[in-house]
Symmetry: C2
């Protein structure tokens, strides 16, 4: 299978008014998304943050859970935390993932794109089964990735649509990551007819 | 469609050693799971906690996001927070959900059950489309629901299995809820062939 990694972007992302901002690292994003990343076989989980003090915070969290008392107390956290890498810019994650070829960049968002522009989750899951270059899945914090990131992407995935609550598209990024990884890489057997 | 609700149980749940314990309310569980519950059309999200001070904490969180400054700043949180109900025992959620008939109790766990004992996610999704009594989906915090809760259940759902990381079954409860709601109630169109 291809190498697949996830990037959680803290800049450039949108705020509620659509302005481009930098968001703060959330401790539970690091844990939850690292655990989901290991469950679905990702090779890395990149946290993207332009501010050095915020990157150091992630390094301290990692150290606590890999070599420190956190890891001794809950050894199950060592594996997920080993996937975490923190870099200043999305480009750094792209560079680190490159081998002979650069990874494809697939972006995600909660809305704002038409069906025609986007890759369906079914089609994306099929593509990931085929041989090809690595894929970097980028998720935005705040109110989502800024437009220039989408424009740089090879593909943009369809939003996770609520069929129950029309116009409600406010999943947490932790939930959106989990759902999308399951749709793209999940165990087909337990959701398919016996 | 049937009325479907979710219960997040803080007692009786297991700790890492398999002892029965009470866990603390996690603020982000309230937010993330309420947002997922609204996305997937649930009628209620019950937080189960036997300690009055912990229930009051949830009431304060709700008030802040429904009538207080939180809701004025981020109006998108009002809808999810309105689904939240906090009760001392799982039985209270069952009673509150009952109309002519009591709800079916479906439990979830990360492991410890054989394939034969469990309802597959595909089968569960089909059942939810059929007319029938309401369904209460119970999730455990900590290391999962204690055995007596499973024994009281009408059905136990299959664990979310990692096909990539054998023996790793440590999703956060926030991620597990999101994935399971998507498998049971998600938009079939975006994950099905066009």
């Amino acid at each position: 299978m291809r190498r697949i990694a996830l990037a959680l972007v803290h800049y450039p992302v949108l705020d509620r008014q659509g302005a481009t901002v930098t968001t703060a690292i959330t401790n539970l994003d690091v844990h939850d998304i690292a655990r989901s990343a290991l469950t679905y076989g990702l090779c890395k989980f990149y946290l993207i943050h332009p501010i050095a003090a915020q990157r150091q915070l992630v390094e301290r969290i990692k150290a606590h859970w890999i070599d420190g008392s956190g890891g001794r107390r809950i050894p199950d956290r060592v594996g997920p935390m080993r996937l975490v890498q923190v870099v200043p810019r999305l480009e750094d994650a792209v560079l680190r993932m490159s081998d002979e070829t650069a990874p494809l960049l697939w972006t995600t968002s909660a809305g704002g794109a038409t069906q025609e522009q986007c890759l369906s989750h079914y089609r994306a899951a099929r593509l990931l089964q085929e041989p090809g270059p690595p894929v970097l899945l980028a998720f935005g914090t705040g109110w989502g990735l800024s437009q220039p990131i989408h424009q740089r992407a090879t593909n943009r995935l369809l939003p996770i649509r609520s069929v129950h609550a029309e116009n409600y598209n406010h999943l947490s990024v932790r939930a959106a990551v989990a759902i999308l990884l399951d749709r793209l890489l999940g165990d087909r057997e337990s959701s398919a007819p016996e």
